[in-house]
Amino acid sequence: MRDDLVLSAGDRPDVKQPASGGDGPLLRFFLILITWFFLSIIVLLPLGVVFAEAFARGSSVFLSSLVSRDTLYALGLTLTVTAFVVPANMIFGLSAAWALTKFDFPGKPILLTLIDLPFAVSPVVAGYVLVLVFGPSGWLGPVLSELGVKVLFSTPGIVLATIFVTFPMIARPLIALMESQGCEDEETALSLGAGGLRTFLTVTLPNVRWALLYGGLLCTARSFGEFGAVSVVSGHIRGLTNTMPLHVEALYNDNKVAAAFAVASLLASLAVITLIFKFVLERRLPDGVQGPERLR
């Protein structure tokens, strides 16, 4: 039923170039030159230097920094954190999108604003507010430490900080897509006698699968790379609370530049792979659903 949406997304205007023959060849050449120059200096150069520096001391240094104990630990911790963050945000995203797009209720704008809030908050502030809640003199810190639960300077704190900065990345595309799809499919299923859960699993979930995957991809990428918020709550304990980006920082500050760039190149490769998948997924989504950098 929704295939028309998907198809119309497939031939997005990327493919058919608008005829803009209006600009003179000189202006055209000039604008293209500026674009090449600006993007090369600002984006291509830093990306290139990551890989150049990673292999600057030869591939043996590169490999030994990747398989060092601290790096492997950081990788494991980052994977663990991501494994908690992404499913939690997916469940929240589906739930929030269902509530916001299938019903009308007072306070809807408040809920939407709360979902947008993390985009306005500096990652450092995001980490800091968690310290205020879970720190030794915070609201929940003393209670939890008496129960033997350690949040700050350990994995739960890192998970919470990452959730704070990433949850809109899954919720927003889902809300946008479900808003555009309306309720007709679900109403049909319900009137044919399907239960609520069955309708959700067999109608809604397949309808939004690409948006869910898209948000999950962006959320995974950010979970791997989140630095500011995690930096505040982790306490920088090497081999214990250092995630991959914190490990890069630690190596760089220790003047182990080649090792820092070796780990950084791994993260940069993941970023490039993420972008390729993002590009593929965006062709399956209607306009207006993609990009957390875009406001509604």
């Binding site: 209006g22 984006v43 920082e249 950084a264 207006g288």
Partner: protein
Amino acid sequence: MNLQASPSLRSAGRPRRSMPGFGLSLGYSTVYLSFVVLLPMAALAASAARLDFEGWIKVLSDDRVISALKLSFGSALFAACVNLVFGPVCAYALVHFRFPGRRALDALVDIPFALPTAVAGIALASLYAPSGPMGKAILELFGVQVGYTPLGVTLALIFVGLPFAVRTLQPVLRDLDGEAELAAALLGADRPRIWRRVIIPSLAPAMVTAFALSFARGAGEYGSVIFIAGNFPRLSEIAPLLIIIRLEENNYAGASAIAVVMLLVSLSCLVLINLFQALIRRRLGYA
């Protein structure tokens, strides 16, 4: 299917209480948001409320705090301005022209968004440090030091804000699709006039959004900046770093005050663009 163009969906078929799961989905979302967002934000408000008026004055009149806030907001403002010039140029060229490397450049625009900030940070630092290849060249050619100065901070924030500037404008430029331009040309307008009266006005709302997003993101940025900034107090120390320093000194009041100021500025920024967009939408008649 453009969401902005289909607000009729919003009002059509609405009281929908026949759908199941209202209590469960709204309840779960509210609890999740309360725990993840509201509780920490309330803790910040409570912590800031402990400061009386004089306390605020004392924290915010510290010249180290003032220069950190000035640096973060000033360089974010400057970077947003640079992106406001180059963002539209890049977006226009990427949408309207076919040229070698167009697809690759288009993909590159997303890199600052996807690349972990710490990775971007060390890359920029090693390029633009006085001993780095770019830093050295610029120092010798122009006598200007980039790394470990406010200029370096601004450069990092240009990098960070770029995707916001380009990606906000691209869909608007695609929707222009030459028809209005063609109509203007047929009515006898020359090219500069078409730029002035057709292309730039239709870009203006998106440009405001691009500017605000780029600014709000830049002001709070931490990872890409701290390596290239050098972090000299009163010279190149950004506000988010000062929050961390105050926290490490156990000075919660000082940290909260800076955090609240930063939060208020970015929030009002986002509220303003939302209002502005609503206004534009109403004036264009598809509210």
